[in-house]
Point group: C2
Chain length 480, copies 2
């Protein structure tokens, strides 16, 4: 394919994309295919000679689309949102064309420098403490990770390295393995599974702290676990506080937990993967209070801030903690400005070596929406969630299962778990809308998350009417 | 931005990209900016109200392009190639529009299933042993990782988990930390730094095996290290064999090392990050001989197979080894087909939870180039490298420093390291072309890697004439 054919096919693809997004509501939100559907539809080997472009685009509709779960449909209320916007897509096209691999400053200075400044822009939107910004020439700064899981893992590894150095300094001769055997990481029992996974990867113990009646971690519960473990000869070193948990969007008490972590000299990582985007609105900023006690903070603009996946923003108070954990500098990656102290080599901040020019997406989105446009997007989703919550509350057959703070509503039929599992089966079986469940303590609960950029009040009302009708049929069937 | 404006701006962006790629040779390959150049060029905060689109595109030329290292310029001969092709860019646009997060089969069946089949297509192009293919319903299969670093880390973690289970089964009561204290990972002293980094992350020891006169790892050297370590009470568990090392593209003796790893029950991971793409050509396939002994194999189509970053292909002989290492299944990620045995949930195969629909890029590229088109791309680069090698050999002032097998030529002026460092400074200072160096033993060496899809004989000849002229000037200055 030469440049002139790319010009033609590119225009066609732009139109295909606009048609897809404009017409997405007409597509069945969750596919009807069965496992293994795709393999018989395409050849078993790559073609020796090129296929025609037209045939590939026909296959997109014939082979791919029937198996797509349409995350951007206004009928999609599952998981959490994943961001999608036209400005981000345009920036991603440019990112692909530049195609630099920005592992060091020299590998493409613009890629590194725009990222540093965009993380400052975003940090200011959130009113993060100045210590986290690179602008003032301090010790902190931001980086784009691929996902919150990677941010959590990087924080845990940096914390492990800091704790190991400290313990070895106090007791020379202590082996790394002897240290790791004693290290314990903590998070609420509502925290994302990636925290426990990070501990497994890092080879350290993990303890889940029982959350309170509002599914939040309190300092008292953490304190109790710390005391028990220290009494048993273990060494607490790392705490993840979650702002906006995955099951029900609950908030750990950061203003309580933070001072305790500082007092006990534990690395505090704040995971606000979903909720973080909301903190750009002054009325939600109080949910971030206590971040001033954190060593690292992370949230995903690729969830709720209109920057397409992947773009997970992470800030650290001391970048040397992150970069010092595993810095290796082979000659083939060295460059003239290496030791100037002026530059950032982001490869030391992350797990992979290579990295795309992802800050272009942030730059395009922030500039083309403006802060007010981004705030409006957040506020609209929160408003829609409140509308759904109010509708649920008006139906006495249902109950709300957790406080609705942002764009997620946890609800269920009053009754058994079996009844609610059946309701969810009917909802997802009908394929009018798509939801996923969670467990809150022993209760099976349905999660209704406002996801699509195109979601409007009418979609929420239609979804609720549909759920009510299915519930009526289910309850009727039960009475027969 | 609404759909109709996206149609307009999308077309403009397609043209901008085509213009950029067509005109890339006219841009200075390595930028002239100094560290910190970008921040003063843009505001210190995101705008409250939206900026005009035209202003953003003006800033792309004014702010971004002056700081870009142009990896796709035919004057770029640094690092290794990173792939760029129009079909991959088109597929990536579609990937962004669908915007699904394919962490499980249910999160978008097409995303998972196309990936499985594409890894089979690619595995067949490489003539991988059938055990690595998913097609036959066996225990193996392939996955797209973000980078070779992540593939190496996943392999090491899976190997650590397998070794820990085995040791704990033999000696119940042995703690995980007690096991980790004894585990040792190995790779050649020419292996990529990501292997040592994976060991640091995984909390296990790492030993570099001295390579032979051709910078290759031999079984005898590995055997010696294994015996020493076992005698010292350590437990060897993981070996990385590199096919196409980063410094000089040397090849470990896989057919020797493989049987030794099998005999000693060590996990053998084969890292062919750069060279792997060449194995689709029958005349280079012999370089992969011995892969039948491997537990896992990885290479980067995003380097040399025209699939834009990121797309790192990894295969495992037993997918349960990978998925069993850290499987955690929270309710909000469970789905109906979860335990059917029919589906793949790729989140268990990788470090992050989220993942893009990256197999679309493979599908578009494989179909629009065909196997013959991909082979032609590889062969052209190898031919250009041989042409450069021959030119170097004709100039008695220079020497070739390692065997030229694929698209990389390691060369230097006969003389001191200082002389060669000066030559490289002059080359990169002139900014006509861009190279990076390496160390081979105690020698400072220049690496000339054929990178750009657009590289032709004329570019190689011009680059060589330029290097010769700078060398003449340097040697003349030395004589004065």
């Amino acid at each position: 394919m030469d440049a002139s054919e790319f010009r033609r096919r590119g225009r066609e693809m732009v139109d295909y994309i606009a048609d897809y997004i404009e017409g997405i509501e007409g597509r069945q939100v969750y596919p009807s295919v069965e496992p293994g559907y795709l393999r018989p539809l395409i050849p078993s080997c790559a073609p020796q000679e090129p296929d025609a472009y037209e045939d590939i685009m026909k296959d997109v509709e014939k082979v791919i689309m029937p198996g797509v779960t349409h995350w951007h449909s206004p009928r999609f209320f599952a998981y959490f949102p994943t961001a999608s916007s036209y400005p981000a897509m345009l920036a991603d096209m440019l990112c692909g064309a530049i195609g630099c691999i920005g592992f060091s400053w020299a590998a493409s200075p613009a890629c590194t420098e725009l990222e540093t400044v965009m993380l400052d822009w975003l940090g200011k939107m959130l009113r993060l403490p100045e210590a986290f910004l690179a602008e003032k020439g301090g010790a902190g700064g931001g980086v784009i990770q691929g996902s919150a899981s990677e941010a959590t893992l990087m924080a845990l590894l940096a914390a492990r390295s800091r704790a190991t150095r400290r313990l070895q300094a106090a007791r020379p001769g202590l082996t790394e393995a002897a240290v790791m055997e004693k290290l314990v990481a903590y998070a609420s029992d509502q925290a994302h599974c990636s925290v426990e996974r990070a501990a497994l990867i890092g080879g350290v113990k993990f303890k889940a702290i029982p959350s309170d009646g509002k599914f939040a971690m309190r300092a008292s519960a953490l304190q109790e676990a710390l005391q028990q473990d220290k009494a048993a000869g273990l060494v607490p070193f790392f705490v993840v506080a979650t702002l906006g948990t995955t099951p029900c969007c609950s908030f750990d008490h950061l203003s309580e937990v933070g001072p305790l972590c500082n007092w006990e000299d534990l690395w505090l990582h704040v995971d606000a993967a979903y909720a973080g985007s909301a903190f750009i609105c002054p009325e939600f900023r109080h949910l971030l209070d206590g971040v001033e006690f954190a060593d690292s903070f992370n949230f995903n603009p690729h969830k709720w801030l209109l920057v397409n996946f992947d773009c997970s923003a992470m800030w650290v108070r001391k970048r040397a903690d992150l970069t010092g954990a595993f810095k290796l500098d082979p000659v083939y990656l060295r460059h003239g400005h290496q030791d100037s102290g002026l530059i950032t080599d982001y490869r030391h901040w992350q797990l992979p070596l290579g990295r795309r020019f992802r800050s272009l997406k942030m730059w395009f989105v922030f500039r083309l929406y403006g802060v007010t446009g981004l705030q409006a997007h957040i506020r609209k989703h929160v408003q829609l969630a409140r509308e759904f919550e109010a509708a649920v509350q008006r139906d006495p057959r249902f109950e709300i299962c957790a406080e609705v703070t942002l764009g997620l509503v946890c609800f269920r039929l009053k009754g058994s778990n079996k009844l609610n599992e059946d309701l969810l089966d009917r909802i997802n079986g009908a394929k009018e809308i798509h939801l996923v469940p969670c467990h809150l303590r022993d209760k099976f609960v349905l999660r209704f998350a406002i996801c699509s950029r195109a979601a409007e009040s009418a979609h929420v009302q239609q979804a609720w009417a549909h759920i009510q009708a299915l519930a009526t049929a289910l309850l009727g069937a039960g009475q027969e």
